[in-house]
Symmetry: C2
Subunit: 812 residues, 2 copies
């Protein structure tokens, strides 16, 4: 087993030394696996000659790999690339049928198509907004009920003195709610776990993650996130909302749902659905998010539509929330994430603070890398030992109980009591509460603001402070994370004790790290901000105490903002979209430059140690993810050296039996087949899905009688089958039919994109990525097929610490 | 002449009926012009067969064309496509030299390159901010001086009663200043006229507009815009600032300037310079602007860098302005364009206002189309009759004088006097003025706020109102456009009289329309906003008077905002970037959706009548501009039917004499040459610029002695020559040398992108656009060169009112 090293995988690479003849593909039903290099052990030819420096590099990498490739390390599958993921097709299949249809279409027809796309986008935005609204309201209502139970219990037991009973009740209640959420995720739809952002990122990148955009996933995700938030875990609901938006987008644009088994006949064009993007309720951030994170290729109209959908979504959310809050028609609520406006006049920054901000960015990068490393180890532990659903549910319950207990303990041992003065009630003005009046109860279902009358008594009694005082640790802990962030940003100087903040940062850091990756629906966005805001404010307080003279340090809220940005940047490593989101959430463009600087510093520092959290999880899933550009040092690789070869090709007039055999060959499971004229001259490309539709409709030519046995196939037949084609096994082909021929000329794409065999990898990569390709045919200078470049062939190369590394392909 | 119709141009298209042999290119120094189809009249073969429906369409278009093609219409050259514009090269020339260099580069080297790019971007942002700052301060200072002169004059003549003398002085002063601006533009750098946005749009699209990014252009532009703003024209300074940013970006990234004749040795890589984008001081709007408007292809890192540069630029601007305003280090000024914040709490909108907004969008679209049609006629008039520089200067002076006179007359006949109450001084708080304290003087150098003491008297005496009152027409007219927009947005209800607003809209509309296209540096951005804000506020007032009961109509400022968006959208037809700019300029995301809806409505309505203003000017310049997508109904066109053919090809080992002859052939003036092996088999592509460098360095192989006569050429030699290669005429090649051979193998790009001849136009277009290509080789199924697709071949097709139209190519 320890031989499964790069050396072996390199050795079987076809024909690096240049004899073109050996590269000729096997034709017609070759049974040889396309990825034959994998695990095969014949030969050990290294390429020689001009690539000598490269050889050294490669040798070194191989040795390291052989160390890493030990059996016990196999569960750390980030060095593998899974073959189970298929790619999405963004490229139009421009076959004769398609061209004929397009040519029949009038100018008016194109205009209607365009309008229908906008309508679809509006609908997507509307539904996404509706879902966000539902989550918001459900969280409020359920947390309200939970609070009612707890409140009654506290009133009952406080006089008896059994505070521990209250604690136990809370912990149990939280565990039960989280259990519910974990059960539906673990048993019904494991893909709904986590924030969903890694999955959406892959999907936008062009990798088809199974079941990620199904209705069932959506339902589980929505219920799951409600449970985890109500259950008081250290989670946010933003990631799951992005995922929900993506499911809605995919569902609406395809106009159907497998789970519902109904077809809404909405699908105007496959192109609408090709990549309808994801929708962040915070609109501009969302557009940039989808650009920064996933976009396989860039299209102006698409961006407009995404922008439009985000607008509609924000609008819908605000509209329904305004009705819910008995203030219908008032649409002035700016987005879902809103940390309160930093007033330009009151909070300014100065030139000499910028080095400080950069230092904070570096701290954020370090802490983010630590978070990611810990979470990485935890995830590997989970992959190895916590893979059974019931274990996963138990872990989630444990985390919920621990979260409740730790919070309680922290508050119990904290004696940071602050006077509950008039300036304090002012900081929580009621109009802020109208948006999330009961969301205050989220985190641990302790209301401390709703009913000002009964508050102080209950407050002081629970939170171990005298009447007229409140516990600032509780403000940080027993609060919905959004509210906590807001108060860390905006509370008066002196509201928080440095010790409280330090302890809180420490505890919440580990809790959030433990929570992310549990089998519940949960985002890491808001918890990261909260950690960062806490230590940022701590920095601000320390700075103010060091330099007591200057008034510019007076406001620690500014540092809380910078800290939050630094921590979030250090964990997820996005720059552009986070800047926009942060600026938008605080309603002030003044901090644009500092936030951007901080995010960049955090990214640079963090990248030195460990990748971003989402990238780690993508890698652990062995997803063939394509980055924006080819690895920098990959110019010495050519199309010939990366391509899969030999290729299974088909003739233009091909025997049905051969096609069925090729499609049934589970060891290869190819999805695209070059169509050739003898000798091996490329004349088209046909997809598995097309072949299956052709087989299903029996589009055969009986040579003996030389007539067509089928009705004329329409493009509609292909569309009806989209996006889920039946497996080849479900199509029965009789022995007679196997002898028939199939004429592929009308259905193949007659002009597939090709590259010459000497094209460098960056050039191949650019073509592949810019056009959103799935198959790229490599031809020699006689236009003969000699290989096929797919996503996996490109994703295999990545830049490691020691230069270019090559991942292995695995069937798992 | 009336025969120059589509029919003729189609007829000479090579070989539509499919015999591949005829498509074989002429090799080695073919003298035949590549665009031979143009004006040639032999034969009249229509393609026959499967394109029968298309033939009908074509016939119809031909007839229409023959009507349009009449001689008298020739000056309307938007039906022509000029051949004088060259394309930019975005695609890497991946020849052996390049690959060798890349392979030599270590991992560290790539990292340094990356860092240097960020540094260059920071520098670009810094310089752009500095220029914006310079313009701002210069306008203030000069307007101040002008004011001083006028003020002394008024004090002298008012008592004498000679108000007409003051008017004449103003008009003359304005004319003189504008004359200065017009002279430098018309005589020294005509490309610096206008807003510069159409030129930048073309440049980003990949068309090399001569001299558009030179230092001389920058200097003229900056001086010109200062003159036009100080001269009181109805112009904005935002467009020229974008242009300045682009010049800085191009200059810094290329690290040199021809005007300075110095090379800063800054150029790290051509790729840095490939498209450094434009920089709007208003940061996020700028990013989206460059995306929406120009971006030839999309690149994530590039966007980050543009964003970063915008941030730096805003930062620099604020920093220096804060020093100028004696408030150093206070960096809280959000951007250059700032119309004051709409407070969320005070100004809300309701669901039932949305139809109203959409109706206003339609009005904006109509008025915008009217503006564009008028400006289009005016521009054609100018092209025909006002083409001499001195005439252009005189026209500019005339406009300046008329603007001053009309404003004066309007104020004279207006009796809309409003009390100058305490609430009024509150609307112009001093801290707003700190940003533009003297900019108030811009438009006509009448200060009415600076010196509150002496103000009222002067005010009432000039502006025909009693003491303690002010003339609201004057508020709209005698003010810098930005300030006017701001007061239209934010002044209390009742500040403006409907009649005043109506008259103002009418006058300013025609003035702005007349001004745009003058031979001065001037933007149309702010004037459009001002027109829109005026009629928008008028709508608001009328609505409020119609429905006196409801308080929601109370604030006409909201309608001013919507009107401004509608008018701007109707004129320039941008959607996404304008939404962002408007939202940012008003500091409130609440109006995001309404603004977007309004912009979309304005665009749809406006597009029905006439194109956007920038597109009109691009078309009138006959620029081969590529839109985002191929025209919708172009699926019936194939690469074979659009390509230029025959192609001048070179052999891998080519005679120097042949190369010199080909390059010297002015009738073709090709820029890219496929390199072939006999028989016509494609093996590479080489550019004119590369050949010239090779000739300059005498990279010849003397066959007789079979040795190399030159030193080994480095990639550096090519870079040193970039971006301006000497013309072929300047290179002397002796008769002996003409007999030498040149070995192109090492220098050509061995893997140019190719398409098969049957590829449909949308597919060719997508490849071309996604990769930012300049030449795309069309090959047959034996990999033989049969044609070349260039930008002009694709830009020729556009969607007119009656289906697909084909533009003619012209040498002008």
């Amino acid at each position: 087993m320890s031989n499964i090293t790069k050396k072996v995988s390199w050795s079987s690479r076809p024909d690096e030394s240049g004899a073109a003849g050996e590269g000729t593909p096997l034709l017609n039903g070759s049974e040889q696996p396309r990825h034959s290099r994998q695990l095969s052990e014949e030969g050990s030819l290294f390429q020689i000659g001009r690539l000598s420096t490269v050889d050294l590099e490669e040798e070194r990498t191989s040795d390291e790999d052989s160390l890493r490739g030990r059996p016990k390390e196999i569960p750390h599958n980030e060095k593998l690339l899974s073959l189970k993921y298929e790619s999405l097709d963004y490229d139009n299949i421009e076959n004769q049928l398609f061209l004929e249809e397009e040519r029949r279409m009038s100018h008016m027809g194109f205009r209607c198509l365009e309008i229908s796309r906008w309508v679809v986008c509006g609908l997507i935005g509307f539904l996404t907004g509706l879902i966000a609204c539902f989550i918001d309201i459900a969280v409020e209502q359920l947390a309200g009920i939970k609070y009612q139970v707890v409140k009654e219990n506290i009133e009952k037991f406080t006089e008896v003195g059994g505070l521990s009973i209250s604690l136990i009740l809370w912990a149990v209640l939280n565990s039960a709610i989280v259990m519910l959420g974990a059960i539906i995720v673990a048993f019904f739809e494991p893909i709904a776990a986590g924030s969903g952002i890694p999955q959406i990122k892959c999907y936008l990148n062009g990798v088809k993650i199974p079941r990620v955009v199904r209705l069932k996933t959506l339902v589980v995700k929505v219920c799951g996130v409600i449970c985890s938030v109500v259950g008081g875990l250290a989670v946010g609901k933003e990631g799951p909302m992005i995922h929900s938006g993506a499911v809605v987008a995919a569902g609406v644009s395809q106009g159907r749902s497998t789970s519902l088994k109904r077809d809404f006949k909405f699908q105007m064009s496959r192109r609408v659905s090709s990549r309808s993007g994801d929708f962040f309720s915070s609109c501009r951030g969302g557009v940039l998010f989808s650009l920064e994170e996933g976009a396989s290729f860039w299209n102006q109209m698409l961006t407009w539509r995404i922008f439009f959908a985000s607008m509609i979504s924000t609008f819908t959310l605000n509209f329904f929330l305004s009705i819910y809050h008995k203030n219908p028609g008032d649409l002035s609520n700016p987005g879902l994430i809103n940390f309160g406006r930093f007033e330009t006049d009151s909070v300014t920054y100065n030139l000499y603070e910028i080095p400080l901000f950069i230092a904070m960015g570096a701290i954020g990068g370090l802490l983010g890398a630590l978070f990611n490393v810990l979470n990485y180890w935890l995830t590997i532990f989970r992959i190895r030992y916590v893979h059974r659903p019931c274990l996963q549910v138990m872990e989630a319950m444990l985390v919920a109980a621990v979260t409740a207990t730790v919070s309680f303990t922290m508050i119990y041992f904290s004696n940071d009591c602050q006077p509950l003065g008039p300036e304090h009630t002012e900081e929580y003005p009621l109009q802020v509460n109208t948006h999330l009046p009961l969301a205050v109860w989220n985190s641990s279902a302790v209301c401390f603001r709703c009913n000002e009358a009964g508050l102080t008594k209950m407050w002081s009694c629970i939170l171990f402070c005298a009447d007229g005082e409140y516990n600032s640790m509780a403000t940080a802990f027993f609060n919905t994370p959004e509210r906590s962030v807001r108060s860390l940003f905006h509370n008066q100087p002196g509201t928080y004790n440095p010790l409280t903040l330090g302890l809180f940062t420490l505890t919440y850091f580990f809790l959030a790290c433990w929570t992310y990756g549990l089998s519940v629906s949960a985002g890491v966005f808001i918890p990261s901000l909260l950690i960062g805001a806490a230590w940022g404010r701590l920095c601000g307080i320390l700075l103010a105490s060091l330099t007591s003279s200057s008034s510019i340090w007076a406001d620690p809220g500014k540092y809380a903002l910078i800290g939050a940005a630094a921590q979030l940047g250090g964990i997820v490593r996005m720059t552009l979209s986070l800047t926009v989101i942060m600026v938008e959430a605080t309603g002030n463009v003044t901090y644009g430059l500092p936030i951007m600087l901080v995010l960049m510093t955090a990214k640079i520092v963090g990248d030195y140690f460990q990748e971003g959290l989402y990238d780690i999880h993508i890698k652990l899933q062995s997803v063939p993810f394509l980055h924006w550009e080819a690895p920098a040092t990959s110019h010495w690789l050519t199309a010939r050296s990366v391509m899969s070869s030999p290729v299974t090709c088909l003739n233009r007039l091909e025997k049905v039996g051969t096609i069925v055999d090729i499609l049934s060959n589970t060891s290869t499971n190819h999805n695209g087949f070059p169509v050739v004229e003898l000798p091996a001259k490329l004349c088209g490309l046909i997809l598995r899905s097309q072949l299956i539709v052709l087989l299903k409709h029996k589009v055969f030519v009986e040579l003996a009688r030389s007539r067509l046995t089928h009705r004329k196939l329409q493009l509609k037949d292909f569309r009806d089958a989209y996006p889920r084609f039946p497996p080849i096994q479900s199509i029965h082909v009789s022995q007679d039919e196997r002898e028939c021929m199939m004429d592929l000329r009308e259905f193949m794409n007659p002009t597939p994109y090709t590259v010459p065999q000497d094209t460098s990898l960056p050039r191949v990569f650019k073509l592949f990525r810019a056009l959103g390709l799935r198959h790229l045919v490599v031809v020699d200078d006689e236009n003969r097929v000699i290989g096929l470049v797919t996503r996996k062939d490109l994703a295999r190369y990545h830049l490691g610490k020691h230069g270019l590394e090559e991942l292995q392909l695995a069937q798992t």
